[in-house]
Symmetry: C2
Subunit: 326 residues, 2 copies
């Protein structure tokens, strides 16, 4: 039995990882500050004798090091996960992603924990020139504070692997969909249509091409790769073998809700500053380990809408507004 | 006339940049905390009416923002510049390089300064697979905390360019040699030979292949590229068209000093954890702008030895020891 620390344990992906690890008989320490995590996502875990919850901030190094003690493996999933709001809060990605990741690594070093799984992002490719984009694509130029902070996190992890003989699994995700999804375009569209079912406002021209992965497929991939990828620094794209346009997703969401709103596009090939008009990752590496996603994008969108319909309490949260300071 | 802020103005490269800018008639604000900078390097600048020195820490955002006011361009050269000591002080590169760079960018945003020159490093290529290594080499894996912190700095700068319409010139240097050189292998060897002229201890097997550039060639390149490279994010390697082995450099240093010490190699293809056994950068991009280095590696080493011989006061500084915490 392994002891695993999960940061961001009350988040969308983190809470599923907790449930899956407990289901496999692991001992799990969950760490979350509940700034965006949801206690309800841990309802099952909190009943489980092998789960311990620690409420804390990753910027509190003492609390983190205390939580780390006795663990063998870390799933570092806590993050500011929204790529859009960087320009409005330029220090948030630095603190919650880069500095927080450094603190996780330092706590691991001090505690003797040497294995880390990291949720990175396809955003680190900036505006890629090769599609599908492989892990060894040409050295990218960052276009978002979020991507910059995730690349900084990856880089710190790789340097710790070299300096302190850590081992790491760095997953570059496309956007993730499914149960417990709580931010992103399906969320935004669902909330708009609930408030005014006859019209929908979409950022950009709706032609942005994006790739999405179902959350359980994402977790299958991570759990499969940790024992199978034996390098010191294992970098793996996660995504499906295709993409859709934002307009496709609008259609699926409206169909699932039985609505035919008037759709207004704000125009331009990007939805916001730093938006990437095309994300499509090459998943040859993770597939070579024996993984296949079970759900496609359309089914992922449908399940997400179904989840939101059953969990409208999530919509009550105050979402930051997309305004940019100059 | 431009007003230029130079961070690390009392450092090896920074103090030369200050002198060159003043010589061209620019107004210069120098910012340094003198943690490694030398007041003597500013002896000329301090006599100049267009130079203003501000003694401050880049982690002090208020002091930095006050210094930034009214400037048009920043040369951000302040850094923990020694790649070797990361494992002994794992937070130093994060603070002095990554967070400090973020503070510079934030101060620029708040002050309306939108152009930045950044001293990055060939270390960001990790252990490259292509030689000479071009700027768009395959996406690297970091092998040192120093390289990780420099890549994080580059990434932040690029993201600010996208979010806030900054313009940047990011230079990936090989090691720099010449007058005011104050850390690195020539320094270490010189100090050893001054203390015990009959023997020299060299980290690694001496077969590491490294590239070096003379400091005035480095500054020529930066001053030439800023007006000529007009992209939003301009990334440019700086180096000479070749490399040497550490053993070659040992030979040149000993010849310059008229010494024939017994040389002991500690062995292995790396001098320290995260050492890169081969650094050789492709400089096609900067050459296409019309730049050529005037000095080769051997002449750079000779000038560095001559400088150290004339400035032995520099050797009195306490150098950190190369020990690694675990």
């Amino acid at each position: 039995m392994t002891a695993v620390l999960v940061t961001g344990c009350a988040g969308f992906i983190g809470s599923h990882v907790v449930d899956r690890l407990l289901g496999r008989g692991e001992r799990v320490v969950g760490f979350d500050d509940f700034s965006s995590g949801q206690r309800r996502f841990l309802a099952g875990a909190l009943q489980h004798p092998a789960f311990r919850l620690i409420e804390g901030d990753l910027l509190d190094r003492n609390a983190l090091t205390a939580a780390m003690r006795g663990t063998d493996l870390v799933f570092h999933l806590a993050a500011n996960a929204d790529v859009r709001f960087g320009p409005a809060q330029p220090r948030r990605d630095l603190e919650q992603n880069t500095i927080a990741t450094h603190n996780v690594l330092e706590s691991m070093r001090l505690s003797g924990t040497r294995k880390i799984v990291f949720a990175s992002s396809g955003s680190v490719y900036g505006e890629a020139k090769i599609f599908p984009t492989p892990e060894d694509a040409p050295f990218p130029v960052q276009t978002s504070l979020y991507g910059a902070s995730k690349l900084a996190g990856e880089s710190l992890i790789a340097a710790y692997c070299e300096a302190f003989a850590f081992q790491s699994w760095i997953f570059r995700f496309v956007s993730i969909l499914g149960e417990r999804y709580s931010h992103g375009h399906v969320f935004d569209f669902y909330r708009q249509l609930r408030s005014h079912p006859t019209h929908l406002r979409v950022l950009g021209d709706g032609r942005q091409r994006k790739s999405y992965l179902y959350v359980q497929d994402c977790i299958d991939a991570m759990l499969l790769a940790v024992p199978r990828a034996g390098g010191r620094v294992n970098i793996l794209n996660l995504g499906v073998d295709g993409y859709c346009e934002v307009r496709d997703s609008v259609g699926w969401i409206c169909a699932a809700l039985g609505l035919s709103p008037q759709v207004t596009y704000t125009g331009g090939d990007r939805g916001w500053v730093g938006d990437n008009p095309f994300i499509f990752l090459d998943t040859t590496r993770i597939r070579a380990l024996g993984w296949r996603p079970l759900l496609g994008i359309e089914e992922g969108v449908r399940r997400t809408v179904a989840f939101l319909r059953d969990n409208e309490w999530l919509l009550e949260r105050r979402e930051p507004q997309l305004e940019v300071c100059t």
